[in-house]
Homo-oligomer: 177 residues x 2
C-alpha cells in the first residue's frame, strides 16, 4: 500500500493564485495528469478545507469506486455527509490512516491537499512518492504547498522529470531511507 | 543588457530552511552553479537584508571587478559603506536601475535576492531570465522566493532543464512576451 502526494504548484510553491480558491489556474496539461493520478489511486485523502471547496463535485461522484478519507479535527461535524466506504471523516494520524487502509486491502492512497495536510503527511514519513506539477508561474502570494506552523525537512530523492507540456514539468520524488 | 534572477529554492518555494539565515542548506552542486552564475555577471543586485547578511564577505571582495547595487528604502544610512563603482545603495525602481546599468555599458545584472527583491523585479517586467535551482527539500516554514505583500503573475516560458546532480535541478525560465 503506497501513499502518494499529488500537487500542482507555482515556482514559488503556491497552491493557489493569490487568494483565489482551488487550482483552476493550473494548465490543461496538469488537469489531464491530475485526472490520471486520480484514476490510479483507490483512496483519496484530503483536509476538510479542500473537501468543503470540492464538496458538490465529490458528492456527485461517490459511486466512482474510490474511498475518500477527509481529515478534520472535528469528524463529528460531518456525520450527515458520511457514506461508509465512500466518504469518511477522521481525526486519525497519517500513520493510523495508512495502517487502516493497508489492513482494508487498499493499494494506493493519493494525498490531495491542502497545504496543512501535505505538511502533516510529509512530516509523518508515510509518503512514499510525491508527484509535483511545476507550472511556469510565480504568484508572490497564495496558499503554500506545505504551509503550516510545523517546520519539516523530509529526505527525498528525485526519481523522474517529465514534460507535461513545453512549459509544465511533472517531477517525481521518493522518500529516501 | 540582461537582468537575470538567480535563486535556490526548496520544492515549497523556500529560500531559507525554517528560520535559519542564508542558503547554507543548498547542495554543493548548487554552490558550484551559483559561483559560475556570479562569475558570468558584471553587476549584482540585492536587497539590504541580503547585503547585511553577506556584508563581511562582500566588503572583502570589493575589487573583484563587479559592481554591487543594494536596494534599500534608506540609501543615506549606508553612506559610509559606499564605494563608487563597486558598492552602491539606491532606492531607485528596477526600471531605473536597469536603464542606468545599460547606460553605463554593463552586460548582465544578476538579481540575488531576497524574496522581496525577487518579487519586485519579477513584478516590474525587467527580468529577462530566471535561473532556479530546485533542491529536493520541503521546509514548510522559511522565507519565500517571492515573498512580499504584492501579488504578481509574470508570463514565463521554460527554456531549459539541467541536472546539477542526481537530485538537484537547474530550471531556466524566460519572460514570454
Amino acid at each position: 500500500m503506497r501513499v502518494v502526494l499529488v500537487a500542482v504548484i507555482s515556482l514559488d510553491g503556491c497552491l493557489t493564485r493569490h487568494h483565489d480558491e482551488g487550482a483552476s489556474w493550473a494548465s490543461a496539461a496538469d488537469k489531464q495528469h491530475f485526472a490520471s493520478a486520480l484514476a490510479d489511486a483507490d483512496v483519496y485523502l484530503m483536509g476538510s478545507t479542500t473537501y468543503t471547496e470540492a464538496r458538490d463535485n465529490i458528492r456527485k461522484r461517490l459511486d466512482s469506486g474510490h474511498r475518500r478519507i477527509i481529515i478534520t479535527r472535528t469528524p463529528e461535524k460531518y456525520e450527515h455527509d458520511t457514506v461508509r466506504g465512500q466518504l469518511e471523516f477522521t481525526s486519525d494520524t497519517p500513520h493510523q490512516i495508512a495502517d487502516r487502509m493497508r489492513a482494508d486491502g487498499h493499494r494506493r492512497c493519493a494525498v490531495l491537499g491542502g497545504g496543512e495536510i501535505y505538511n502533516l503527511f510529509l512530516g509523518s514519513g508515510v509518503v512514499y512518492e510525491m508527484q509535483l506539477t511545476l507550472e511556469p508561474r510565480v504568484f508572490g502570494d497564495g496558499k503554500r504547498l506545505a504551509g503550516a506552523s510545523t517546520a519539516i525537512d523530509p529526505k527525498l530523492s528525485l526519481t523522474k522529470v517529465d514534460h507535461l507540456s513545453d512549459d509544465t514539468l511533472l517531477l517525481t520524488y521518493r522518500r529516501s531511507e
